[in-house]
Subunit: 415 residues, 2 copies
């Protein structure tokens, strides 16, 4: 079954809101084996809506429309669909009752505009919207299905879960889809692609691979499409197992997991604790770690030593070491890692010192030069990395690199 | 000028990512007077891409494509456009140099895949992508323009700002649009709307107002549309002046400025310095402040005291005060502010202690209870706030509230 999504309303076209509805609908259609062919955002105009529906039905057998069902004059989806399907608008009694109850509970009476919301084309199946006033509508014509839903996200989600997905599931008998996402860190996309080329070339035809890069990971998404009964789960499983053998240390998790979540889980599992001493990352590592609920179990705190005076006075770094080597150097970052670990009495520590930019670079240490150290009760490891000239990106890449170095050290020492 | 946006890639169609690029592009095209007619998301398929471009050119004179420009096999936008415009792929020397430099700075050599990223159709104008490896491309044919940009948001934004928007602006000659955005903090949207209703009702017809809320501000965007020669700038100016009189203390700046930038500017202007002591915000305030280039001029550092032990040992908070009042209390947060200010020898300090959630709430102090203190050489001010049950939102709202309290104190003491 192939679907097309149409969102109606100017808010999206002028960039006032981001269209999160389509992503939600697409994801949930995919999970029941309906693939989404196209997503289109258009304005509140009768001709455009009708033309877009005609276009959509060329390739899709299900069209889901969201938006344009409000009570005001600029909401024309319902009247447009009524015309498109040659219907007549009639009052839908249980919707009217539901709206009246809703307004009564707020101490309000029914206005003419509210009554009009209970009107529906007599040629559709009404999907009762328990969470709002605009009913959903399900039309069928010549073997094709058109579903109209309100644009308010939680009302749309309610109708999709309670009405649309169960009805569509019943109609799908043949096809299935399986997805799996593997998170990697540490290899740029082109290097990763080269390392994976043999594996990629031997993938079975029904498995598709996509690279999804971000500053904090490159996700590899495997999707398998097939007929009901085929063992897609098994096919994907066996390909993923091969993948783990090709790039074992670069994979840090699956699905939506982040480096800070994985590192947190490892600290929890090994019953160890963490502190950070941050210079150029300015508290970003601490910020990322404490985004995770329950992080207080393993994270004790951080010293953000942005000025050299704070490095000396709060972390106790010998001013002479800073003078001789510079603040962005192996001896300083290693001393920072040792100091914060001792002061905050933790099992592990991270220290970062670098030149985030845009200023502060030298010929010897250009903008993007970053030293990272990881200390444990057994070892001390540090590394110099050269990032780019973009400040925000340098900070987030340094933080992710530090978390990944910690991840590898915990695995090495505990597993 | 009418534009259509096309995003290419399965990630959006399977709902794995939300399409934030289109909203950004649409908003910024609108700002220069280009209206967006339609936004379409399609998959990586040559025929579909070419058909969608043909369809788009029926109504639009500018088409902007994003995505599908990566180095891997699933990225086919470049070859598809090359074929569509009957071009030949040739190496673009300055892009190749740029890619080589980028990889060299990371200590990496060039692979064949990287070299291929420097190939472009010989029938386009190359838009050099300083922030990544995939170049942007600008095609013109029969008076129509097609622009292809990478899908990575910060690369797309860089190319739009530096190349696309300036070029398109030059092509628009008759219409003018003037926008002005006022940033406010401290009043919820409905309260702000009520306070502004008289002012809003008297706005001239050609001026439109939009409320753009986010966790860290509510932006008020005024847009005036008219023909070249009309004094839109003057009209907007006079309306903004009235606005400043209605909500003087709630306005913290204009345009894209953030609370951390404004606060930084105030610290710089008053030649004063700042430190922070963070518990529930976990380094987020420090992270926000150090995002700003040059923040080392006024920001000295932070003590992220996530555990009570760190509050006692590193900040020197009397354990008895914590025992009697709890860590989330006026005495503790005020002691934290004083301690970090003294230890880091700064003129101002911020301290935050709260229950971010999802756990840790009590009947007395439910999740979302946050104490914030601001200390200066002259005064100490603290405040309790009740946020919601959402952890991420509580952390960002606490951080923004603390920055805004600091802003008001600096203004009060220095201006």
């Amino acid at each position: 079954m192939i679907a097309e999504l149409i969102t109606i309303g100017d808010e999206i076209l002028i960039g006032q809101i981001v269209d999160t509805n389509s992503a939600w609908i697409a994801e949930n259609l995919n999970l029941i084996g309906v693939s989404v062919n196209r997503i289109v955002s258009i304005s509140d105009s009768k001709d455009i809506i009708q033309n877009t529906i005609n276009e959509a039905f060329i390739n899709a057998n299900v069209v889901i429309l969201t938006g344009g069902l409000g009570p005001t004059n600029d909401d024309i989806t319902k009247s447009t669909l009524n015309e498109y399907f040659n219907g007549n608008l009639v009052i839908h009694e249980s919707t009217l009752e539901h709206i009246a109850t809703l307004f009564k509970s707020r101490g309000l009476g029914l206005t003419e505009l509210n009554r009009k919301q209970a009107e529906v084309p007599d040629c559709c199946t009404v999907l009762l919207n328990k969470l709002g006033t605009a009913p959903g509508m399900w039309f069928e014509k010549e073997g094709r299905i058109l579903i109209s839903l309100p644009g308010v996200p939680f009302e749309m989600i309610g109708l999709m879960k309670n009405e649309v997905l169960p009805r569509l599931s019943k109609l799908i008998i043949n096809q299935i889809v399986v997805h799996r996402t593997i998170q990697t860190f540490g290899l740029p996309e082109s290097f990763l692609a080269e390392k994976l080329s043999d594996w990629e070339n031997q993938l079975p035809k029904q498995v598709k691979l996509a690279y999804l890069p971000s500053p904090t990971s490159i996700r590899l998404r495997l999707s398998a499409y097939g007929e009901k009964g085929s063992n897609l789960q098994g096919t994907i499983e066996s390909e993923v197992n091969k993948l783990y053998k090709v790039i074992p240390t670069y994979i840090f998790g699956e699905g939506d997991i982040t480096l800070q979540e994985v590192t947190g889980q490892l600290l929890k599992m090994s019953n160890t604790s963490l502190s950070t001493a941050e210079s150029c990352t300015g508290g970003t590592i601490s910020h990322l770690i404490t985004q995770i609920p329950g992080s207080s179990d393993y994270f004790k705190g951080s010293i953000v030593a942005y000025s050299n005076k704070v490095k000396e006075e709060l972390l106790g770094i010998d001013p002479e070491i800073i003078r001789v080597n510079g603040a962005v150097s192996k001896p300083v970052v290693e001393a920072m890692a040792k100091a914060v670990k001792t002061k905050l009495k933790t099992d592990y520590s991270i220290a970062v010192s670098g030149i985030a930019g845009p200023d502060g670079g030298t010929l010897d240490k250009p903008v993007g030069t970053v030293w990272i150290a990881i200390a444990s009760n057994k070892s001390l490891y540090s590394k110099e990395i050269r990032f780019t000239s973009d400040r925000t990106r340098n900070i987030i890449r340094s933080s992710a690199t530090a978390l990944n170095m910690l991840r590898l050290m915990i695995i090495d020492e505990n597993i």
